[in-house]
Structure formats: structure tokens, C-alpha cells
Subunit: 415 residues, 3 copies
């Protein structure tokens, strides 16, 4: 080789030759030289491991987890609610306008089931509630004028006055009088509440997939005027009885109506958008949301008032309302076939199948050496082939078995 070269090449020529040969090398194809181990037991182990990994991927990753899909969570959602029903307290009839707050029909609303009314409050002075700390007094000296208790009802005037009922005395306050604890009257308006119907119109939109759907379906014959929700037969009639919601949340209605509470109506839109739109259905679940196991903070109530002007002075009716607050919570996840997660998961699957060969290499190195191992170098063989014959080049179809499966290691060494 290179014996006849008269003088060493100049730098430029060498660089040119280098570049030329690099370019040529770029178009070479490299493939690893492999050893084929013709051992049936090892082959079975190898294929079994590969099969297990493949099954895992096909079953769990692709079928159970749908990892070939691109997904989107948290659809855009709009909720319109409407409560219907009337109820009675001892003295009067209550309609929706009175017991649903706020009235606008949004996703969060309260159905008042019990109220404590303090009518005829005016701004003036009266005895502080006994439940306010340090409110009880014996004489004016116990009350500091100008003191303002954050949990009280007003500004202390410094006088000690008789309480609303009983013989005790409390400090006088400048406040809305009489104070709630002294004069409120309780009314229960939850007797008919389990029969109230709640219509929950919900429509969702997955912007990534341009998919919209609603939870309501039109059927002929005024279907929506008479139907009630049923998970199987009337899934697209989102009209719920309040009693049904409370029951599904596993709460006691009477108890809940007295103390108040928050019930979540959770609408779940888990959709496989590779299927038809009719396979994408809402799933409803119901759950108590406020922490009922903590006595100090359990229940739900709020206060509002109605203001009147009588003879030029303002009077209000203060209402402490206990009620069932309904929070309609919409969530969901949509998935649709997408190339990227598919490719990532396929690549992972293929890489993981390679793990099978690690195992087999280890078996090979540890246990196989004492047995005869039959092997040949596949790609060498292919190249060797023309030397011996004109067969198509893959071992099995081209040569007799003895060519391909060597019977002793010596033969293998020759290769």
C-alpha cells in the first residue's frame, strides 16, 4: 500500500483528500455487527420478555391510559340554573324569588331553608347581645363608653341596661336595634324543599379540539317540562329534585336544612373525541363540600336585610338565612389522537423492548457458557455469501443448516 508514493502530500492536498473522504464517509451506512445465538431456550426467554413489555404497552399505556392522545383539561363552561317550587312556613307561602339567593341563576346559589328574622330594626340604642364577651354588666361602670367590640353589634354608650328578656343586664350599644340575639324569630321553610326542582343547563367547549356539547337534549312532546333526571334513562334531562341531590350526597335533609351546608353538583365531561360525539356524556356526582365534621365552622348561613322607610326613618328586617348552597362544578378531560404523544410512547416502548436484550445478555454471560452456543455473524455471513454461492443472502434461505448453525465453537471461531 502507498509504496509508490513519491513524496508526502502537501497540506492543501491532504485537506482536500480529507474532505473528499469525509464526504464519501458521510454516505456510508453503518450497522452494528451482531452475533446470532441459536439457542432455543435463550430465544424463548428473549421473545417472552419482549412480549411482556409489548403487552404492557399495548394494554396499559395505549388502551387503559390512552397515551396516544393529546389531551385538554378544564373545558370552557357555562352554567345556567333555575329553581322551581313553592314552600310554606307557619304563616306564609314562599316562592323562588324569596328563597333563592342570588336570583341570577349562576353556578353558585343558595336555597334558603331556615331563617331567623329580626324585624323592625332601626338605628338607635339598645342592650348588647349576651353572647358578646364582656357584655353583661351590673352597673354603668362595667361598660366603657366608645368601646367597639369587633364581634359585637355596635358602639358602647357606657350605660348598663336591662336585657330583652330575663332579669340580667348588658351594656347598651348604639346599633341597629333591637340586636339579633334579642329579638329574632325562627322560621323553617324547608318542609317542601326536597321537592324543589333545579334545572342545570351546562354547555362546555374544548377549544383545542373545537368541540362543544351541552347537557340538555330536545325531545318532542314537551319532554323537558315533565322529565326528571335519571342516570340511565334520562341522562339528558338535567332537572334534579333537591331531595335527590341531598340524598346522593349522602346527607340527612332535615339536618342539612337546619344547619345549612354546601353541596357540590360535579359534572364531569371525560371525552374520548376519537369516538363519536354521542359517546361524550356528562357524569354527575354529588358531594358535601363544607367540613361538616368540624362543629365550630359547620353549616352555612348568611345575613341579608330588606330596608323600608316609614315616616322618613329607615327600618330594616334583618334575615339570617340558613340554606343549602349548590355549587355546580364542571370539569373534564378530552383526548384525541395526536402524533406526538404516540411517537414518544412508541419510542419509549421500543426502547423498553431493548431492555429484554439486557436481560438476555446477562443470561448469556452467566449461564450459557457451559453449554454449546451456536452462533454466526449475520452480517458477515451476508457479505461472505457471494464467496460460497449465489443464494439470496439471508442465512436460512441460502445455505444448508450446517452453514448457518455451527455445531461447535471452533467453527464459530473460524468466522
Amino acid at each position: 500500500m502507498a509504496a509508490a508514493e513519491p513524496k508526502p502530500p502537501t497540506g492543501a492536498a491532504a485537506a482536500r483528500r480529507l474532505a473528499r473522504s469525509c464526504w464519501s464517509a458521510f454516505w456510508d451506512y453503518e450497522t452494528p455487527k451482531v452475533i446470532v445465538v441459536k439457542n432455543r431456550r435463550l430465544g424463548i426467554v428473549y421473545r417472552a420478555v419482549q412480549l411482556l413489555i409489548l403487552l404492557y404497552f399495548v394494554w396499559y399505556v395505549f388502551i387503559v391510559q390512552k397515551s396516544y392522545q393529546d389531551s385538554e383539561t378544564g373545558p370552557e363552561s357555562s352554567v345556567i340554573t333555575k329553581v322551581k317550587g313553592i314552600t310554606l312556613s307557619e304563616h306564609k307561602v314562599w316562592d323562588v324569588e324569596e328563597y333563592v339567593k342570588p336570583p341570577e341563576g349562576g353556578s353558585v346559589f343558595s336555597i334558603i331553608t331556615r331563617i331567623e328574622v329580626t324585624p323592625f330594626q332601626t338605628l338607635g340604642t339598645c342592650a348588647e347581645s349576651m353572647r358578646v364577651s364582656n357584655a353583661t354588666c351590673d352597673s354603668d361602670e362595667d361598660c366603657v363608653a366608645g368601646q367597639l367590640d369587633m364581634l359585637g353589634n355596635g358602639l358602647r354608650t357606657g350605660r348598663c341596661v336591662p336585657y330583652y328578656h330575663g332579669s340580667s343586664k348588658t351594656c347598651e350599644v348604639s346599633a341597629w336595634c333591637p340586636v339579633e340575639d334579642g329579638a329574632s324569630v325562627s322560621q323553617f321553610l324547608g318542609t317542601m324543599a326536597p321537592n324543589f326542582t333545579i334545572l342545570i343547563k351546562n354547555s362546555i367547549h374544548y377549544p383545542k379540539f373545537q368541540f362543544s356539547k351541552g347537557n340538555i337534549e330536545n325531545r318532542k312532546g314537551g319532554y323537558l317540562k315533565h322529565c326528571t333526571f335519571h342516570e340511565v334513562s334520562d341522562l339528558y334531562c338535567p332537572i334534579f329534585k333537591l331531595g335527590y341531590i341531598v340524598e346522593q350526597a349522602e346527607e340527612n335533609f332535615t339536618e342539612l336544612a337546619h344547619t345549612g351546608g354546601v353541596i357540590g353538583v360535579i359534572i364531569n365531561w371525560d371525552c374520548d373525541l376519537d369516538l363519536s360525539a354521542s359517546e361524550c356524556n356528562p357524569k354527575y356526582s354529588f358531594r358535601r363540600l363544607d367540613p361538616k365534621h368540624i362543629p365550630a365552622s359547620s353549616g352555612y348561613n348568611f345575613r341579608f336585610a330588606k330596608y323600608y322607610k316609614i315616616n322618613g326613618s329607615i327600618t330594616r328586617t334583618l334575615i339570617k338565612a340558613y340554606g343549602i348552597r349548590i355549587d355546580v362544578i364542571v370539569h373534564g378531560q378530552a383526548g384525541k389522537f395526536s402524533l406526538i404523544p404516540t411517537i414518544i410512547n412508541l419510542a419509549t416502548a421500543l426502547t423498553s423492548i431493548g431492555v429484554g436484550s439486557f436481560l438476555c445478555d446477562w443470561i448469556l454471560l452467566t449461564f450459557m457458557n457451559k453449554n454449546k452456543v451456536y452462533s454466526h455473524k449475520k452480517f458477515d455471513k451476508m457479505v461472505d455469501a457471494p464467496e460460497r454461492g449465489a443464494g439470496p443472502g439471508i442465512c436460512a434461505s441460502e445455505s444448508s443448516q450446517q452453514d448457518c448453525v455451527l455445531t461447535d465453537a471452533r467453527g464459530l471461531a473460524q468466522l
Copy 2:
């Protein structure tokens, strides 16, 4: 080998030797033996497949899908709205306080466009609405005292009384009287509503990337007092005419104002935080959210009342309000360069490039054997090199072409 060994080593010595050689083997470097196939056609196929896969990854995965980014969806969002404008019904002027409910300026609010007013309701007895089922009667016998229809207006007294107008009769109920269907008067206050302006202040925050931005921009000269939203020229002036919103949602304003409806103003903050903050702009879209194609549940209305005390007895004005509810929905996705997804995608890309060699191996085995295949064992070569000369050791630069590209398979076999 080992012929001169006088006695077999003891167990301890063998273990020591094993440990020493394992330790030594740990520092070995293993690399697969490769065959270089010097076939230009195969090389071109190989590189073309690699190029295609690479292009796919660079273009689709990295440029289109931005898979090198870590992402966060659902920013923290705060919405403040303010409606301005006045309108007229036949008899009176309406200002914002009267037609926007609730007044607090949150992300969901209704603009009332039509009302059905039932004034002077008091608690008493009167004829039930004819639209309540079984309400019409001929005599008292048709009415069951104490019956409470959930979709009616009150508790039946058992009497049959003349209806508000016409000659028919309905059962008497104890309720807020007169009932809505009998005495309500309709007023349309949507004539000027298309000109109402709605200011939507929105600020978002992506906690993962510590990025905040608002949809409002300060410009000099009282810009915000006079501007109106325009997608291109006034993107940061979030003042919308109600008519514009309805038009963008492709709805008929007059129709919508009569039946009511829900329009979503969707603000989308899709941000590539690798770019400057000024590239992260809100995108507005407008969509009808309630299911208008379902007659039975279409439209949007709610009831509220104003309570008055006249001569000690309570009177209320019940208002059934039809309106356009605006739901401001904010969503978005922010992405920023992050190492992990980049590495995962790069590794996937590299693994996928390997797929090219599967294809070429298959071509090699199937078609190539009949042609001359030029190859040499690269790593063997490199090691062989010192034997022959002092070249730098990579085939092309060190040896003449005939060394490297073997012209027949026999030469290859010698290696």
C-alpha cells in the same frame, strides 16, 4: 495457557482475583463493532430517512408544537367589569344600577333588556295562573284545599274563583297576589342596549413562571375614556359595545334582547414566554353559550323583587327579567423553555432517527446481497492501523482508498 500453574488457587484468592478483574472490567469501555457498508445508494436512503425524521422533529415537534417548553394552563385570573349607558322604556329612563345584576362588577353579570313587572303583590288569596296544570275549575269541588303544586304559585284554598280576565275560573291560592301570569306588564328596555359600553379589566398571573399581565394599557391623553376595542388598533382598550359583542357572537340583537341569552367573552392568553412580554397578548372571542337550538330551555331570565312597606303591610314588585348574561371566561397556556421536555423530545428524536437504520438493515438483507457490498470493520481498522502506518487512524485520512473500500467480498472476509 496456564500450563505452568503449579496448584489451583484457593477460594479466597479466586474471589480476590475475580473482584480485581471485575473492578478492572468496570473501567473498560465497550463499543459495538460496526460494519461500514460503502454503498452510495444505501447511504442516500439512510440519510434521506434520517433527514425526514429530523425535519419532522425540528418542524412539527419543536417549531409547531413547541415541545421543548414546559407549560402551564389555567392562569390565576381576576376580572373587573363595569357597564355604562342609559336606556329608555316607554315611560322611564333606566340607568346602570337598574339594569345590571348583580351590581358588583364580577366576571358574570346580566344586562336586563326586557322585564315583566307584577306590581303591588301582597300576601293574600287570588286566582291561580291558568298555565298551572289542573288550575282551571268549574266549581269549588274541582279544587282541593291544602294542595300545593310545585310549579304553581301557592297553597290552594279549596275555592274556585273568576280569573283575572276573561270568563274562565281557576282555583284560588294563598300566595303573593295577584299572580304573575294574571297581572304582569311587559317593558322593553333594550332599545339603547347595543350602545352600552362594557369595560372588562382582566389581569392574569402564571405562578409557575412568575409572569403577570393585564389587558389594559395606559396611554396619554385620557385614551381609555374615549377608545373602543379594536382587534388590531386598540387591542389594549378593553371597552366593548354590547352590540359589538352580540354581533361577534353572530346573534341577532333584537331576538336575543327579547328571549335573553348567555354570551361568553372568552379571553385567551396563549403566551410563549421565551419571547418578550409584549408578544403575550390577549385574544378575544365571543360565543353564545346557552343552547339556543332547544326551544324548551332556550333564553335566559330570572326573577327578583323590590319590597316596600306601605301602612305596615308588605308589598312587593316582582320583576321577571330577560337579559343578556355576559360570562367572561379567561383561559390560556404559557410555555417556557425547560430542560426536561427538551431532553425527552430530543431522546425521542434520536431514538426515532435510529428507525432509519431498521429500514436500511432490511434493505441490506433483502436487496443488497446480489450486488457487491463494500465494507470494512471500522473499529478493527482503527486498531489495525498502527500495524500498517502512522496515520491518524480514521480510515479515509490514513490509507489509500483500496485499503478502505474493499473491492470484493474476499478482502472483506480477511478482516
Copy 3:
């Protein structure tokens, strides 16, 4: 080969033979032929690179980013709030019912700190506000009857009338009279507001992991009646002073109380559900949400009214309320060990470790050829073994060092 074959096989026989040999080949095990380079320096580089990559994955990907976990963002959340406290303006005591809007205790509510009251408004005619453009006039000719300014207060009557105060004149409008700008009185009720307490009950639920938790804890002795939130000692007492919230948001209370503003109380539930539930704690942060740096739109206010009927005609008290709106925003991310991300990340880690060998191959090709490179073909060796002895087959334990570590390249070539 095949010399004794009497006649060429028929097509069917050939196909059978092909199928048989394919089946047999299916059970072969292939493993790449490797070269072991016994060079300590190269080995150290190789292992060091592998170690670095491994450390990166173990530390950053698995420990910092917890990439072995499946995650879920955006828990279902329910918020109940309750404000307590009383405050004073110059003339009167204000209680919760009056200064908290809306009263229902949802996640968004306003605490009114300043009001501009316009009492005794009735529908009638009066002078337009001077702040409305083109409202000032000298004579009736300046006022167009029937004109309706969207930013004004009513419908112009066409007359020019004296203003409420001063000597100027404005156009008369048919509106709620007197108009706000002419007759409103300001009252500040924020003096005691920093001491208001806000109870924020929040419970979250991660549906994917079936995990629920609340931000409130029961302790004996009426703990919740007396405690105040503290990040360390009282994390589960979600009772905040308004002053504390404003301070944490780094705002000036007095300024905020005058102009109004929106403060976000952000509750973050980032939970590693592989740990015990007690490790999943809420993190509170406080942030000003409205764009205070933009003068034209800064602050927060809204209008509401109280309607009275006096002698048959309706009067209202219009209140423009400035206040601190509290938006309770709940977000979070839960993670739990899951096979799929673990496998994807492991596969990526393994693939990336392979990058180490690219580097070493390059070193090998570039720098190593001038030195002696010791190597042997591992798998060949293993197969060669029986020929030479009965050792366990791994190079080191079976043969003397000279077998395994070849001392010159010539020896290597023989293999």
C-alpha cells in the same frame, strides 16, 4: 455445499424450507458484537459522563421535578367566606349586612370602605352633571331635546337650567333626580375595617387521586373562635384580619380604602400524595389584582340602590360604593407515583446515558489510535472459551490476563 443435492427443490419445498428456517430464526437471539477497549483513561471518561447524566436525572428529573409522578392540576374547590366586624362612619354604625356585598359568602365579595350616597332620588327632571360632555349650556338652544348621552344620566328635555351649586347652567335631563354628581355625600367607613376578620373555609378534592382536604382544623376549647391565621403556628386557622391581607399584598390600607381595589387571596395546594396527607398543606399568598398603575382604570367601585315607596311614589337611595374586593383563588397540583411517566423518564435516562458512548467513540477515533489500545471481543471470547478450558466464561475469571488484555494491536487483529 449442497453438492450432493440430486435435483433443485420444487417451489413448495423451498417455501416450506424457508418458513421452517424463518420460524427457527425467530427464536434466535441476536446481540451486538462489542469491542472492549481496555484503556483506563477512556474508561474513566466514559463512566464519568455516565455518572453525570445519571446524577442529572436522579437529582433534577426525579427529585426536583418529581417526573415519576402522574399529576393533576386544578382541584375541585369550594369556598365559603364569612366576614365579621362593625365599623363607624361619622353618623352611624355599620354592620356586616351593610358593608359586605354580595352577602352570600362566596369566593368573591366586596367589603365597602367608602360610599357616595345620593339620597331621595326620584324619577323627574333636573340638571345634568357638569362632567358629562356638552352638558353645560347658556340657553335652551344649546340643549337638544330627545338627546341621550350614553355616559350621561338621562334624556335631555331641551331646557337649560341652573346647576345644583354655583352659577353655571347645564341641560335638563329626565332621569333619577337629583343626579349623583350634584347631590352625593361621601362617607368613609373604613376606619375599623383593618380589624374585620374574614373566615375562608376552603375544601379541595383531586378527583384523579380521590384525595380531599380542607383548610380548617378542629382543635378543642373553641380554638376557632379565638385564633388568627399565622403561617407557622396557626396554618389551619383560616381567619384573616383584613388589615393583614392588605399588608401582605403590600398595599397601603388607607389609600386602598379610598379608591377601592381587588386583592387576591391565593390558596395553593401543591401536594405530593406519595407522602402522608398531613404533608399536603395550603399555602396562602396575597396579591393586588387590579392594575393600580393605570390611573384611568384604577380602583374598584360599583353602584347599588335601595328603593323605598313613599306616598305611592318610588324613591331610591343610590350608593356608589368603593371597596376592597377579595377574590379567593384556589389552585394547586397534586402528584402521585405512576408507572407511565416513570417508564418514559427512565427510558429517556437510559437513552441519554448512551450519549456517553457517542462521546467516547469520538475520543476513541480521534485521539486513541496513536496509543496502544487493548481490547478483545467479549462475546467471541465467551464462545471461544470451551476451546481453551472449562472456566466460567467471563474473561476475567477464566483466563490469565494476557488472554484478555492483549498487549499489542497485532494480537487484537488475530481475534
